[in-house]
């Protein structure tokens, strides 16, 4: 079986919803929004989310338990993510900075740990909320 490239029905429905959303979406809000399309149970949502995260189409914002679509041109960086989060309006933006990702990819700690992945969340106030 070749590596999945097309999304399945549930994955596509849920990806489309998240992709259209201007802000991160939470699992049960997603569930509510796709019930009219026949996705009735939390597990159906979580399974699609898991797969979409795995293949890099969406990212989980850990501090918010919410999901956003990747906009780094079908993210090659599912394993190297950085976000800015406004603590007032909760706007979340994926950061794509070559310098930052290079710095973090090359970061070595004292314990000789080998990293395969990182996630960075910056918090502050966006332009509007300042």
């Amino acid at each position: 079986m070749q590596k999945q490239t097309l999304l399945t029905k549930n994955q596509q429905i849920i990806f489309d919803l998240i992709d259209k959303s201007p802000e991160p979406m939470k699992a049960y809000s997603i569930l509510f929004n796709v019930q009219k399309k026949g996705i009735k149970a939390p597990l159906q949502v979580y399974r699609a989310l898991d797969k979409l995260v795995e293949i890099g189409k969406i990212h989980k914002i850990e501090s918010r338990n919410a999901f956003i679509a990747c906009h780094n041109s079908s993210c090659q960086v599912a394993k190297a993510t950085a976000f800015s989060i406004c603590e007032i309006c909760e706007k979340v933006t994926e950061i794509s900075s070559a310098g930052l990702s290079k710095y973090l990819a090359n970061f070595k700690d004292k314990d000789g740990m080998k990293y395969s992945k990182y996630n960075l969340e910056f918090f502050g106030l966006c332009k509007k909320c300042r």
Copy 2:
């Protein structure tokens, strides 16, 4: 009322438990462990955790919903945290790297966002698990 410096009873009980623990502790595991000391309800645990996080005595590992004591000499960096997480044994270590924190503190994104805080989680395999 001056800024709290001593911990209250519940805060101290819960901090001591987390501080002794070799690994991050989850809220309900904490609850279970402090019930013999009279802390009976989840909310009592979460309130203490919130305060301990706020004053920098502990940190939340967002990707694990778990808490560890700060070991950066009573952390001045509750607002600038970095951790390494082994994906096999789940060992978590707080990273204290002057270079890293300087780089991240000075990081500026394109949108002109003003950051007051960040959290970085590295994932990989620790020495033992490699």
